[in-house]
Every structure is written in C-alpha cells, then in structure tokens.
Symmetry: C2
Subunit: 191 residues, 2 copies
C-alpha cells in the first residue's frame, strides 16, 4: 500500500450519465423507455445495458440532474418517468462541448483476419462473408430509419440525426466494398 493508492485515482468518465441526459432532452422517459430508444436509434454506435441504466438513473436523481416526473401505479405496476432538470442540461452541455476521448474500437473480425495465416483461406473467407451479410442487414435498416426521420415533422434534432445516420450509411458501404474486394483477393490467392 503506497501513497499512490491513498490519493484518489483519476475519476473515470461515466458516459452512461450523459447518454441518459441526452435522451431526456428528446422526451421524458422511463428506464425501460431509455433502453428501448437506445436499441432503436444509437445502437449502431452506442449501447447500454440495464445493469448500467437503472443504477445511473438513481445516481442522476441524487445529483438532481433529473427528477421523477410521473409515477404511474396501475394496480401493482410501477412506472417511473424522468425529466431532465435545468442543472442536468447544463451538465450535459458541458460534456457535449468537451473533446471526445480517442475512441478505441475493437474489431474481432479484423483480428481474426490479421492472424489468417495461422488458419486457412477458407476460414478467412467465411469471416468476410459473415461480415458482408451483417452489413447488408444494417444497410437495409439504415434506409428504414432514414425514411422515418425524413417523414417526421421538423425538429432541431433532425439535422444531427441525419448526420449520424449518414455516417452509418457511408461507413457500411465502404466496409461492404472492402468485403467484396477482399473475398475476391483471397479466392484468387487460393488458385
């Protein structure tokens, strides 16, 4: 036990806090609603689990960054709807205006391809084909989301949502191109 262990270790940025605050600027939501919204919208670049959401919700309540707007109780069913507070929007804005940390992305498919020499061309092609299918599925979904955003009434969020969506579209298309090209390269190499 040395000195360094006594002094406080650098606080980690709990991003779940800001994801929740951000979503509450769109509409008041329950914990369940937050999880569903994440899975329907930002899931392609961000995800959260219930084990993160519910405890964070209580933390935010304690810090007065959100408040319980409504507590529905039909029979024994409980439903908590939260709203962001003024202090909450201030904290969110502070974080939004802060430089993003360098994002560390981990891609298991690429890792397996990198070590392809220790396996076989056949297996590597299989990984690429699985990836290809996944991208094609995502692409279809992106198009659906795009229509949904474009047909809804104008909101200050729309421009930002379309930008994020466009990132998904462009990246997916590029990745797809790479898949096709790489499958071809490996197949030619086989002969």
């Amino acid at each position: 036990m040395s000195f360094r262990h006594i002094i406080a270790i650098m606080k980690k940025r709990n991003k779940t806090k800001f994801v929740i605050l951000g979503l509450l600027t769109i509409a008041p939501l329950s914990g369940y609603g937050i999880k569903s919204l994440i899975d329907k919208s930002i899931t392609y670049f961000w995800s959260e689990s219930n084990g993160q959401i519910y405890p964070t919700l209580n933390l935010l309540l304690k810090e007065k960054l959100i408040i319980l707007k409504e507590r529905q109780s039909v029979g024994k069913k409980i439903r908590n709807i939260y709203t962001i507070t003024k202090q909450g929007t201030i904290e969110l804005k502070k974080w939004l205006n802060t430089l993003a940390e360098k994002n560390i992305h981990r891609d298991e498919t690429l890792l397996k391809l990198f070590f392809g020499g220790a396996s076989s061309i056949k297996e590597s092609i299989k990984h690429l084909q699985t990836r290809k299918k996944e991208i094609e599925k995502n692409l279809k979904n992106y198009h659906l989301i795009q229509k949904m955003i474009q047909t809804q009434e104008d909101s200050p969020h729309n421009i930002y949502w379309l930008i994020c969506l466009r990132n998904g579209l462009i990246s997916a298309k590029a990745d797809l191109k790479w898949c096709k090209e790489s499958i071809k390269t490996l197949e030619e190499h086989k002969q």
Copy 2:
C-alpha cells in the same frame, strides 16, 4: 443469494489470450515486444494494456500454450522470450475458426453529434474537425505501413495484413468524406 449465483456464471472469452498466441505465430516475443508490436500494427482495430498482457502471459504458461524460450540476463536485467507450443497453435486455430462475436463499437464523437441539438452548431463542427484531423493523421500512417509491408520479403502473413490495412484505408477515406460533407451541411444550416 439464489441458485443462479451458485452455479458458475458463463465463462467470458478472454481475447487477450488469442491476441498473444496470434502474435507469437509471427515471431517469439517478450511481453514488452508484444505490447510494442500491438501498438505498431493492430492498434487501429485492437489494443491491449500491460495490465492484461503480463498476467495473461503467466496464464498461458500455466496452460502450456506457450513456453519460455529464452531468459536473457545481462547484469540484473531480465528478459523473457516466449514461444507458442503445438497445443497453443491448436487452441489459436480453434478460436480463429470460430465466428466472431458481434462487435459493439462505441463512438463518443457520434454520440455527441447525435445530441448536438442540446448544444450548438459551432461545437458540433468542432467535433467534426477534430475527427477530420485524426483521420488524416491515420491515413498518412496507413500509407507508411503499406509501404513497409510491400517492401518486405514475401510471407504467408502479407496477404492478410494487406487486407486489414485496406480496411483501415477504405474506412478512413469514407469517414473523411463524411466529415467534410457534414461540416458543410452544418455550416450551411448556420446561415
């Protein structure tokens, strides 16, 4: 405390193990060598910290998937060089031939852009410009790595490394295009 907590919870896939095994198929390496090689090669799609590498190295020794090939001792300096065992290559191959888990990628920049409506156009453009600079830096590095691989003698790894590199190049270019386009969109929206 219920039954579910007594029965073993599903084992997690320790991917650090396979990263190390994979790198040892390229050459015998020390812990330090492994860390350096990761930072010079696969860092764009995979990273590991010393806190993961050294304990895993001892785990792999215990499981006999690697062996201590050489123990250099000049003065008091210690240096452990590890080699992969036959059993190690078998385990690696097993993992390589297994479907990759769906990769969850978390992108803080996109998250901040998604909530841009709670901040300002100016701040959102700033995030995009930071991203743009980062990609441009990466692109330069990709070109350097590409030359390095292409000028070195032919090895069974080359084709796979070039495929991974090409993913970096294609993705980076697509992302850069998106950055430029999005900056323009937001700037036009300002007026």
